[in-house]
């Protein structure tokens, strides 16, 4: 039974990697994408929790009508020395010609220590680890993706899971905001350099996930009030809803490469 809405982005023989696939948005993205991947496709999920990844795999296989190869790779993006082994595992057994499409979803991310204001970040080890997880890993993994899929005969797409925080400064969130700002800009540069690659920075909106709980407890009253107000207005989304919207954007394939789009269509570019 073929999925509806098969496009050149998905469809048969698609390689898809999703980082941070053990819970939250990453899990939802995996489940939503899986339903759209055709025969001969492979979904690779990375994350720190094997248990979480296994649960995601179970949900993927439950909802997915096609035979889909799902591979799990556990690892921590904080540890740059582990990247070679981790990246090798993600792309292992990928022969040229195996896939017609390749999709890389950079979803893994952390919010950092939100108890600290910008002028209180004083530990270089903590900062280096933060940027390793949220910035270095994304850059190096993208380079590996491009090395594995170097030619335009494979339709390549890279998605940067971003945030409104990439363009709006939030108190207590200097690390998160700056990491997202850097990623958005980095992917704009990539979009200019690689006209054959579809590059999208997607802001999923405020989601009902573990990350939101951390953000809401950062100690800044304005932020707490803001999210409380959003919640009472029903504006906190389910990650499934946001993941669906992202898939629609990819499916329609109308976005300008390098664009920054969000679930509410509030801003572009």
């Amino acid at each position: 039974m073929a999925s509806t809405g098969l496009s050149a982005m998905f469809g048969p023989a698609t390689f898809c990697a999703v980082t941070g696939g053990s819970r939250g948005l990453g899990r939802s993205i995996a489940v939503q994408l899986a339903g759209r991947l055709g025969e001969g496709s492979r979904l690779v999920l990375t994350g720190r929790s094997l248990q979480g990844l296994q649960e995601t795999k179970r949900q993927v296989e439950e909802g997915c009508p096609n035979q889909l190869e799902v591979k799990l790779v556990t690892g921590d993006m904080e540890d740059t020395t582990a990247y070679p082994a981790l990246f090798f595992d993600i792309f292992a057994d990928t022969q040229p010609g195996d896939f017609k499409n390749a999709l890389m979803i950079h979803n893994a991310g952390t919010v950092g220590d939100v108890s600290k204001r910008a002028a209180e970040h004083s530990d270089p080890q903590i900062l280096n680890k933060y940027y390793a997880t949220n910035l270095t890993s994304v850059i190096a993994l993208t380079a590996k993706f491009m090395e594995v899929f170097p030619c335009s005969d494979v339709r390549r797409t890279v998605v940067n899971i971003s945030s409104g925080a990439a363009i709006e400064p939030l108190a207590h969130h200097a690390l998160y905001c700056s990491g997202k700002a850097a990623r958005n800009m980095f992917f704009k540069v990539m979009a200019e350099e690689e006209p054959d690659v579809r590059v999208l920075s997607y802001s999923p909106g405020p989601l009902d996930t573990d990350m939101l709980q951390t953000v809401r407890s950062c100690g800044d009253k304005k932020i707490e009030d803001r999210f409380n107000a959003m919640e009472s207005k029903g504006l906190i989304l389910s990650p499934d809803h946001s993941a669906k919207h992202m898939c629609t954007l990819l499916d329609e394939d109308k976005f300008k490469s390098g664009a920054f789009l969000d679930v509410f269509d509030r801003f572009s570019l």
Binding site: R117, A119, S122, C177, E193
Partner: protein
């Protein structure tokens, strides 16, 4: 907002002050501040710092200059940051300033898809982003009792616009602009400016002209170099000083020489 009286006793830190823009900033600020001021100039190049100090002393003898040589992103950065931000008798200063100028271009010979070495990327962000946060944090604790504080982030058009081959640099500048926007929001009493100096006649531009992988971007910098149309760092610095003196900018904003 009232104009800022900069002719007061100021504690001032300038990073990357051994050459180029940093040197010009240190000299111009020394001429601008009042008696009893202390300017701390830091960089890796001690020879360059000595030269900067000589130049400051010849135009601003009323200012004390302290040299702190070292790598702000190196393994002993914690100790270095403390030395840089060591404020003798804080009560004697009316104003504290830090100019986060030190920075690097990164490997512009590589496109984003070629940035496969995590060490290169981590080292880059350690110097251009993390160490800035750490030094800034040290500055803030050391100057807590000084009522008036100004923080300048030397940024670039690259914070706002993508430049092919310059993925690391653009990302770094975008991250910094955002850090300082958050800082401005959290610390309304502190004047925070992200200043983009324009393309300057410095070693960084020479490096850009030599190493940039993308032919269009490289041609632009080669042209600047050949035609001597890059800006004199001194000219750009004077504009920055005027912005600080006029004091009309919105804290956290990004202002370019050409604005």
């Amino acid at each position: 907002m009232a104009a800022a009286d900069m002719k007061v006793a100021t504690f001032c830190v300038v990073t990357g002050a051994s050459k180029g823009l940093g040197q010009a900033v240190a000299i111009n600020l020394a001429e601008t501040v009042g008696d009893g001021s202390l300017i701390v100039i830091t960089a890796r190049g001690e020879d360059g710092l000595n030269e900067t100090k000589k130049k400051i002393e010849s135009v601003a003898p009323h200012v004390t200059v302290k040299i702190v040589a070292g790598d702000i992103a190196g393994p002993y950065s914690d100790e270095l940051h403390k030395r840089i931000c060591d404020v003798p008798s804080p009560g004697s200063f009316k104003h504290a300033m830090i100019i986060h100028n030190a920075g690097s271009l990164g490997d512009v010979s590589k496109l984003t898809s070629e940035l496969s070495d995590p060490k290169v990327i981590t080292d880059y962000y350690q110097l251009n982003v993390s160490s800035v946060l750490c030094l800034n944090s040290q500055f803030f604790s050391a100057t807590e009792s000084i009522v008036r504080r100004t923080v300048v982030n030397i940024t670039s058009l690259c914070a706002l616009q993508p430049f092919k081959s310059w993925g690391l640099y653009c990302g770094g500048k975008a991250a910094r602009d955002m850090i300082f926007k958050v800082l401005a929001q959290e610390q309304p009493a502190v004047r925070v400016l992200s200043y983009a100096p324009g393309p300057l006649q410095t070693e960084m531009v020479e490096e850009a002209a030599k190493k940039t992988a993308d032919p269009d971007i490289r041609a632009f910098f080669v042209g600047l170099s050949k035609n001597r149309t890059a800006l004199d760092p001194d000219v750009s610095t004077k504009k920055m000083v005027k912005l600080l003196q006029d004091n009309k900018f919105e804290s956290g904003s990004h202002i370019d020489f050409y604005d």
